[in-house]
């Protein structure tokens, strides 16, 4: 049991470090951000340039086969690359969905010609992809989606609405799950396509979240035409294709980021208690810090166990599944408690008065979304119960009923 690289891993890490030293700027402290001072267009351009550089050095998708621009590497090499890159001012955040979810789906189901056309531009950051599955009426139950695709000659005509689409407004292409047959049970009537996001009839609108920020989009489809050649797998086989994509999503969903133990301890050291002295002396504060600390450490070392499995070439065990279900409510509880510690001043979101403490308010408005996005607390517990512990699924009343006969309800 140790934290050291194996000799092969150490060699790879050295190679990465050498390349990064030559090609990127090292962070001077952990808070510096590659985006500082850039507007959206500038940031995008910088990210695309960096992605091309990474791709050319075959560090963009390390585990992909060499023929697709990878190096046939191991998952642990990807982790090592990420660890090293995080110490440099390297752009992130535009290509992960495309390369992590969409392109692998393309590779599995598109024609060789299509892949020859699309994989390289995606890998080099020249084209950005998004994933169009969730709908207002189909969140946890993705297969209940309504967006219709109707065959018309060599095309399909799409009408409907998708939601929670990250990056839709700057994406060039997307993979799109649609309902092509309402007369069969819901999982059986779905078909997957890919499409040009600039197609006529596609409209993106930002979704304003409860915090006031807008990190996601909704996408409306009005008589959008997609050639049948852009169908991925057979008509009616969309659910199987989507599972490929979603499998990759589950691995991608990360931890809640936001203020953590250090920030809470800092707050508690600087906050005066009613009886004088910092509140970190109060036993309730200490008990909570300890609880959240061991939760955080538990997640950290659970990830180390996962990395170990990867490092040994094993498939990670089920332990990876607990990350979000622990960290999202933890962030909500921790930030709510921070507000409570600030007492009457916990309402203030005034930069001048509140200073660094603003992070607790901001995260307290972000955490509710984390408990929902990428699988709600409730769905994740179902998944742990069923896939990890092997408990039976819930009773399913929708398995054998034609989609059109299912109750529909509120969007």
């Amino acid at each position: 049991m140790d934290f050291n690289d194996s000799p092969e891993e150490a060699a790879f890490r050295a190679e990465v470090r050498e390349w990064l030293d030559k090609n990127a700027e090292k962070k001077t402290d952990t808070n510096t951000n590659w985006r500082a001072g850039l507007d959206d267009a500038e940031a995008m351009a910088k990210a695309k340039a960096w992605q091309a550089k990474r791709a050319d050095a075959r560090f963009a998708q390390i585990t992909w086969p060499e023929e697709w621009g990878g190096r046939g590497g191991t998952p642990i090499q990807t982790v090592i690359y990420g660890q090293e890159e995080s110490q440099y001012l390297a752009p992130r955040g535009y290509f992960e969905i495309g390369l992590g979810m969409c392109i692998p789906t393309m590779m599995a189901y598109a024609t060789p010609e299509q892949n020859a056309r699309f994989v390289q531009p995606a890998l080099r950051g020249e084209e950005i992809w998004c994933q169009l599955f969730s709908e207002p009426s189909a969140g946890s139950d993705v297969a209940g989606l309504r967006t219709k695709a109707v065959r018309d000659g060599d095309d399909w005509v799409i009408n409907g609405q998708k939601v929670w689409t990250s990056g839709a407004h700057y994406s060039d292409f997307g993979i799109l799950l649609t309902r092509t047959n309402p007369d069969v049970p819901k999982h059986k009537g779905l078909t997957m396509f890919f499409l040009d996001m600039k197609s006529p009839g596609v409209e993106c609108r930002p979704i304003k979240q409860m915090s006031g920020d807008a990190n996601f989009n909704e996408v409306f489809f009005t008589d959008v035409r997609i050639p049948d050649s852009q169908r991925l797998s057979d008509e009616g086989n969309g659910w199987k294709v989507a599972l490929t994509t979603l499998m990759n999503e589950r691995l991608a969903v990360g931890d809640a980021s936001g203020p953590d133990i250090e920030e809470l301890m800092e707050l508690a050291r600087n906050t005066e208690s009613e009886t004088g002295g910092p509140v970190i002396k109060d036993m309730d504060v200490r008990q909570k810090i300890a609880d959240w600390y061991v939760q955080g450490q538990g997640l950290k070392y659970t990830k180390f166990r996962t990395l170990t499995a990867l490092s040994k070439g094993q498939t990670p065990g089920p332990e990876a599944s607990i990350s979000k279900v622990v960290s999202a409510p933890r962030l909500q509880d921790l930030t709510s408690f921070a507000l409570d510690l600030m007492d009457q001043s916990g309402v203030q979101m005034d930069r001048e008065l509140t200073g660094e403490n603003m992070q607790f308010m901001a995260s307290n408005f972000w955490a509710p979304g984390l408990r929902i996005a990428g699988g709600t607390d409730e769905i994740l517990r179902n998944i742990i119960a069923e896939r990890v512990l092997g408990l039976p699924g819930d009773v399913r009343v929708d398995k054998d009923v034609a989609y059109k006969d299912l109750p529909k309800g509120t969007s």
Binding site: I207, M210, Q332, L339, M342, Q344, S345, L353, E378
Partner: protein
């Protein structure tokens, strides 16, 4: 045993509910949330006209001369609709302070205006990032004028009169300041709940007069806050009940996996927990209402209990209402965040649950020792 509101009080509640549901929709709240107006002036005028502001003010001072039980049922309805008006500052705090300790001339000067909604009152005790304790009082009162800063003062941007905690020759004093007079400057603050205003108030030799006894300011502040805690607990219970009803309505209508999500235990049990906490808060609030309305010696314990239970209920209901809604609950478009914001606001406004729990135990210890 009559541990319920009277039929007349319930009628008043129904009246308040139908008035407020009519005049204060979620769009009303959003207009304030998203716009530049600090509060909804039309709604405020309507509430004044209904007599709600002066429910507990004697008729001689322009009120309805009802009692605090009547004010409790109104407060619950104000909470249900997340009303974007300075009700709590003006009614639970300023009015209660005047009723508790105002001289006849102070009462005559202000209560009729407060009752009519012509003036808005508030109470300034918060001390920025420091706890609001007697020791930390920053402003000072020299017998006729006030100097110092108070932040954050609820509705301080729109209030006409404030009761302010200040250091005086004899210790701590509460003083009354006409905020439209000289020596007062205000700065608006951004907060977690823009549907209610907060401001920083700076006093530079502002004319001020003592309210209550000099040197007894802090105990008077505690008396007023106990009274406000009960009234605000009803507002929180109203909010909690409303969040529960939102969650229930959404869950009943939302279908996943071919059935209403309200038929899944994860959602059912969540709603049951919201219900349980709301009922526990309601019962604690009732006890507080009894103590408030009878000026019972149990008030300090009852008020702290009401506040602690109300904070627990509203915080939980507002938070889990978002969760029960799933994705849509996290959007600006859904009304869930109106409660989420208001819950955080009310749960901190008179001091956090943590501080009140500590105070509750201190009061239990004092009662046991007595």
């Amino acid at each position: 045993m009559n541990f319920d509101f009277s039929d007349e009080q319930k009628m008043l509640r129904d009246q308040a509910r139908s008035f407020l549901e009519d005049k204060c929709t979620s769009q009303t709240v959003r207009t304030i949330l998203e716009g530049d107006e600090p509060y909804d002036k039309e709604l405020w005028a309507g509430i004044a006209e209904m007599g709600f502001l002066g429910a507990a003010i004697p008729e001689e001072f322009g009120g309805l001369g009802l009692g605090h039980l009547e004010l409790c049922v109104i407060a619950e309805e104000v909470g249900r609709v997340v009303a974007p008006v300075p009700f709590s500052s003006s009614v639970y705090l300023a009015t209660e302070a005047l009723l508790a300790a105002g001289s006849d001339s102070q009462k005559s000067a202000w209560l009729p205006k407060l009752a009519a909604g012509e003036a808005i009152g508030t109470f300034a005790v918060a001390e920025g990032n420091k706890p609001a304790t007697a020791k930390n009082v920053n402003a000072s009162f020299d017998g006729s004028s006030l100097t110092g800063t108070k932040v954050a003062v609820p509705d301080g941007d729109v209030a006409d009169v404030a009761i302010v905690a200040a250091k005086s020759a004899k210790g701590t004093a509460l003083v009354l300041v006409d905020l439209n007079g000289p020596g007062v400057s205000r700065r608006n603050l951004r907060t977690v709940d823009p549907t209610r205003s907060y401001a920083e108030l700076t006093f530079e030799g502002a004319p001020a007069e003592l309210i209550g006894d000099d040197g007894e300011g802090w105990s008077l502040k505690e008396r007023v806050f106990d009274r406000a805690a009960v009234l605000m607990a009803f507002e929180q219970v109203g909010g909690s009940q409303s969040a529960l009803e939102m969650a229930k309505e959404y869950a009943m209508g939302r279908i996943a996996f071919g059935r209403s999500i309200a038929s899944f235990q994860a959602i059912k049990h969540k709603l049951a927990d919201m219900y349980i906490k709301t009922e526990l808060a309601r019962s604690n609030a009732y006890y507080g209402a009894w103590a408030l309305s009878t000026d019972a010696p149990e008030l300090p314990v009852a008020a702290a209990g009401a506040r602690v239970a109300a904070i627990e209920a509203y915080g939980f209901a507002a938070q889990e209402n978002v969760q029960a809604h799933g994705g849509i609950g996290f959007t600006w478009e859904a009304d869930c965040h109106l409660h989420y914001r208001r819950a955080r606001n009310l749960n901190l406004a008179l001091g956090s649950g943590r501080v009140w729990k500590d105070a509750l135990v201190t009061r239990l210890e004092q009662r046991n020792a007595a």
